[in-house]
């Protein structure tokens, strides 16, 4: 068993009176692929935002990669996001006026310095070597999601977070994206936490946890 990368103790998140995440205890060992399932409003996106340093917990402890997230300043959180995690969104969220390669380079720029050759390589690795100079609007949904993956992994994060990365994709593209993620994980050895409500997608992971109304209700291991 390898070291733990995510460890939460009594983690809660309230939005006013609404409790999005009830006290949650969770441990994720390094290198695991964890799927998080639940219907909308079950608190899975909240969990993901907390793990990605986009949001702060209301209560409880949260350690990601040995870093106490409660104690980080706003700029500390920004540094954590750029050096430690990569995030793939359902809506892709690419900057519309930048080309594919520039979108990847932007992540490099915020991290350290842009390196176009490396960004090209990353896009070639996700199979977009022929669409470097296209803007997001000229790419299909699956291609956009692959740009998003290239952007997420460009800074060699320890933790890759996916927020319904295949929610907007057809079956074929979904398969392609999942295959890609599996390959990349084999090479880069990052941990994946992926939120989904598609059991088929969840089955790609090593373990699946089910959230309902902010409570962890069930967890099961996938047989490989």
């Amino acid at each position: 068993m390898s070291t733990t990368i995510i460890e939460t103790g009594g983690l809660t998140r309230n939005y006013g009176d609404i409790c999005a995440l009830k006290p949650l205890d969770l441990k994720v060992p390094e290198g695991e692929w964890l799927s998080v399932m639940g219907h909308s409003g079950s608190g899975k996106s909240t969990l993901l935002n907390l793990l990605g340093g986009l949001d702060r917990p209301s209560n409880g402890s949260l350690r990601v990669g040995g870093e106490d997230m409660q104690g980080l300043t706003e700029d500390g959180l920004a540094r954590f996001r750029r050096e430690f995690v990569g995030i793939i969104f359902q809506q892709h969220h690419l900057i519309p006026y930048l080309t594919a390669v520039e979108n990847v380079m932007m992540a490099q720029y915020f991290h350290s310095v842009p390196d176009e050759a490396e960004a090209r390589l990353a896009l070639e690795r996700v199979g977009l070597g022929h669409r470097l100079k296209n803007r997001p609007s000229e790419l299909s949904g699956g291609e956009q999601q692959r740009v998003c993956i290239a952007r997420a992994i460009i800074n060699s994060p320890k933790l890759l977070l996916g927020d319904e990365p295949t929610g907007n994709l057809d079956h074929k593209s979904t398969l392609m994206v999942m295959e890609l993620l599996k390959e990349l994980r084999a090479e880069e050895r990052f941990t994946i936490v992926m939120v989904t409500h598609n059991p088929e997608v969840a089955a790609w992971g090593d373990r699946t946890i089910y959230l309902d109304d902010g409570i962890l209700v069930r967890e099961e291991r996938t047989r490989s």
Partner: protein, 445 residues
């Protein structure tokens, strides 16, 4: 009063010490010792020099030393740019030398001496007693220690490279010198360059002033004519002035970044590069600041601050026969177009007078009072003298003529070597003209 006059010099001295403390971090004590010993030495040296060679000669020596440091900066800048671009540059011995405590001490000592000499030049001529100079040395030492304390408190991520140190120290010295007209380097540089360009054209092109010369066509003369333009001196001097600092900045900008080829992971490689770039940017701050200081020096040289020339009356005594003699080239240069005040005391009576060379080139000796005003005395402004009592401006050309609020002319005889005044006449004239309202002491305002 004295310190206010010295403010630019002392400020630049504090900057110099600050830069040296940073540049030789780890050798702070050596720097502090060198600086604190060097400055008073410089002050004393300048005083002795001006005693030994009154007049412009001592200023010229100090100016040449400052000029020498500027040339040194040129050399350092060229070396820096060479070493940052050429791979096979033998850097090791130079670096070892620069890192030795000997080097730190020598730099601190010599820049302290130059800065001290420059600051002392500000006082020479106006003050002839010891206290102002002691005050200067004391203030400089305190400032040096304060600057070193400030340096200690600065963030560690703010390094100063050797070339940057050189640029900042020389820039601050030039700034300090530029506020003393006789030490200013930029105007002479402008003039020299102008002359050089004229001579150059004469030497090189006159021989080619043949119609249909093989290389020099007539239309080329249009361009050669540019060398005679008025701006040549100024713009050329600007280029010479700023180039070393620009070279130093470029040398830092072109420094090779840490080698990252061996790191396979892109993110790590880039992070290392980013750290290198950030450090380089921090090192660039000093040369850029040096350029700003150099620009300030040019500004001061072009627009020297006009101030009232308000000399302290120098006490003077008469020979037994009652004759007051003031040499033309003594402690003060009577013919420098400035107002020189003297205070004459004899037997409980005293009188104030001044000697001035009018723009027409005539020496005149006048009482430091007019026929009607209270004798508060006169100061000198641009093209005029001003009566401190009624604030009336009197054109310099008319000083020496009686009437109005003009100072009362004194009879005197001008000899080859100086000016002779009869002490008794002086006292009597003061007595009758400056009346009983006279407040002789202190030189007026």
């Amino acid at each position: 009063m004295v310190l206010a006059k010295l403010a630019p010099h002392l400020l630049s001295w504090a900057g110099i010490v600050l830069a040296m403390g940073r540049g030789f971090s780890g050798r702070r004590s050596v720097v502090a010792a060198g600086a604190i010993v060097g400055f008073p030495l410089g002050v004393a040296g300048a005083c002795l020099l001006s005693r030994a060679y009154p007049g412009d000669f001592s200023f010229a020596i100090i100016r040449d030393i400052v000029g020498g440091s500027f040339l040194l900066l040129w050399g350092g800048a060229v070396a820096a740019i060479y070493s940052s671009t050429v791979r096979e540059f033998p850097r090791s011995w130079g670096e070892r030398l620069a890192n030795s405590p000997f080097c730190a001490g020598a730099v601190a000592l010599s820049s302290g001496m130059i800065a001290g000499a420059i600051s002392a030049c500000r006082l020479v001529g106006t003050y002839n007693t010891l206290p102002p100079f002691l005050l200067l040395a004391l203030a400089a030492s305190i400032l040096a220690l304060a600057a070193l304390a400030v340096e200690r408190a600065l963030a560690a991520s703010f390094p100063v490279s050797h070339s940057g140190l050189m640029a900042s120290v020389v820039a601050l010295l030039l700034f300090s010198a530029s506020s003393i007209i006789r030490l200013d380097l930029f105007s002479p540089l402008t003039m020299k360059l102008m002359k050089f360009s004229h001579d150059f054209v004469h030497q090189f092109f006159e021989s080619m002033l043949i119609p249909d010369h093989l290389f020099i066509r007539t239309y080329l003369w249009g361009y050669i004519g540019l060398l005679f333009g008025n701006g040549v001196g100024f713009w050329g001097a600007l280029i010479l002035w700023f180039t070393p600092a620009v070279l130093v900045a470029l040398a830092i900008q072109w420094e090779r970044l840490p080698s990252v080829a061996h790191i396979r992971q892109g993110a790590q490689r880039r992070r290392l590069l980013a750290t290198g770039i950030r450090a380089r940017r921090f090192r660039l701050v000093i040369p850029v600041l040096a350029m700003v200081v150099l620009a300030a020096a040019v500004y001061r040289s072009r627009f020297p601050s006009v101030e009232y020339w308000d000399p302290k009356p120098l006490p003077i005594s008469a020979s037994p026969s009652g004759d007051i003699f003031i040499p033309k080239k003594g402690d003060v240069d009577l013919e420098d177009g400035k107002l020189h005040k003297y205070l004459f005391k004899q037997g409980g009576r005293e009188a104030r007078f001044f000697v001035l060379m009018t723009p027409a080139g005539k020496l005149t000796v006048d009482l430091d009072a007019c026929a009607i005003c209270k004798p508060d005395g006169y100061g000198q402004a641009e093209g005029t003298v001003i009566c401190y009592y009624c604030k009336t401006l009197i054109p310099l050309e008319t000083v020496g003529q009686p009437g109005g609020c003009n100072p009362i002319p004194l009879p005197f005889t001008e000899k080859e070597d100086g000016v002779h005044i009869d002490g008794l006449t002086l006292l009597n004239m003061w007595g009758t003209n400056a009346q009983s309202t006279a407040r002789v002491k202190g030189g007026g305002k």
